[in-house]
Amino acid sequence: MLIKDCVHQTAAGGLSPWTFLSVAIRFRSPFAAVAGCLDICSYGIPGAIALVCTLTVLGDSFAYLFGIPIPGAAIGMMILVGLFAARGGPDQASAMVFDAATPYFPMFFVPAAVGVISSAEVVAAVWFQLVVAVVFGTAVTIVVTGIIAQVLLHKSFEDCEK
């Protein structure tokens, strides 16, 4: 039941279990699929995208299974860092997909941001709080972080020189 829920949840999240299945078929068993993730990178860009989607699915299922309130993709990212460490660096295909997508990252959140038109009432009611959070919060954060980072980094730099 739990597993069924899990599959349903990830499918409802829009990512099909097919991505995992395709990896499983390629490597002949689900266990080998996990181990084979290290090598899937040699299947070029489709391989890199399949790996990334699979890790998102796994992360989401994991978070759902254990009721952890963090995005599954963040768990997927940590797994990927682990995979990179195991293989001694990012594979060419993943790096290529990342570098190609980087300049357009902001574009992907336009659909979510447009939703603000349906929360116009909330914005009208609490706009002052929002402005305080954005302007005051950001200014304080930059000043405090800048000062602390300067003191600490300067100190470590001096240590290096000695």
Binding site: S119, L130, T145, G146, S156
Partner: protein
């Protein structure tokens, strides 16, 4: 005439094509304006798409359903943040201690300074969950807000506004408090104002840019742990 409009709006690719076209147009405008932070393409294209939906009387829900693949790609992008994270590993190891100290202080300050006023006047949980993740990079912030019962679309707008505020206010503020070290300037910009702040830092220098991306990534990671914890405390 209305029939044709409905036909177009019902097409599964309508949402994506409108979004991409609006973004391409906004990017062109932004380049013309010398990348002025106030005209960030996300802000402008959000206005374009929003205006189009209102003008054609299209419900947001049906637009979002069509544009969902773009939203899903956000998840893949977070996973891919492993690439820059791994690339900066050397710098991270070198100055692990000062960076982690500055990170913890900065992230806690970011969270508390954003929430202080709202908590003080007793805002409800939904609003706090919406505001809390705002200094994390959007992909992470939106998913956190969704998970914790906030309003993801409002969080997205807050994150972008935060980035713009940071990019505009950041450099003069850092000058005012005599933070001249490019590494510290970059780190502060990336931590407080994510990708938009990082872009601003890269305009200052390569070193500032690298430290900004470190600040952005580490802050996003720490927020994943901090935001649920702080919300738990506030809710209890």
């Amino acid at each position: 005439m209305m029939d044709v409009i409905w036909q177009i709006q019902d097409h599964h690719l309508f949402g994506i094509s409108v979004t991409l076209a609006a973004y391409a147009l906004s990017s062109a405008i932004w380049n013309r304006l010398d990348k002025n932070a106030f005209f960030h393409p996300v802000l402008v294209s959000t206005l374009f798409v929003g205006a189009l939906l209102i003008a054609t009387d299209m419900p947001y829900e049906s637009y979002f359903l069509q544009a969902e693949p773009l939203n899903l790609a956000l998840g893949a992008i977070i996973v891919l943040l492993a690439v820059p994270f791994y690339r900066q590993m050397g710098v991270l190891r070198e100055s692990a201690k000062p960076i982690s100290c500055a990170l913890v202080v900065g992230s806690v300050v970011a969270l508390l300074s954003a929430l202080a006023y709202s908590i003080a006047i007793g805002a409800d949980q939904e609003l706090i969950a919406t505001i809390a993740p705002k200094s994390a990079t959007t992909a992470v912030a939106v998913q956190l807000s969704e998970r914790l019962g906030g309003i993801p679309s409002l969080t997205a707008v807050l994150v972008i506004s935060t980035g713009i505020a940071g990019a505009v206010l950041g450099p003069p503020l850092l000058d005012a408090v005599a933070v001249t070290n490019p590494r510290a300037r970059g780190f502060a910009l990336g931590l407080a104002a994510h990708a938009i702040g990082t872009a601003r830092a890269f305009q200052m220098s390569e070193t500032a840019g690298v430290f900004a991306s470190i600040g952005m990534i580490l802050n996003a990671l720490l927020m994943i742990l901090l935001v649920p914890a702080v919300l738990g405390l506030v809710g209890a």
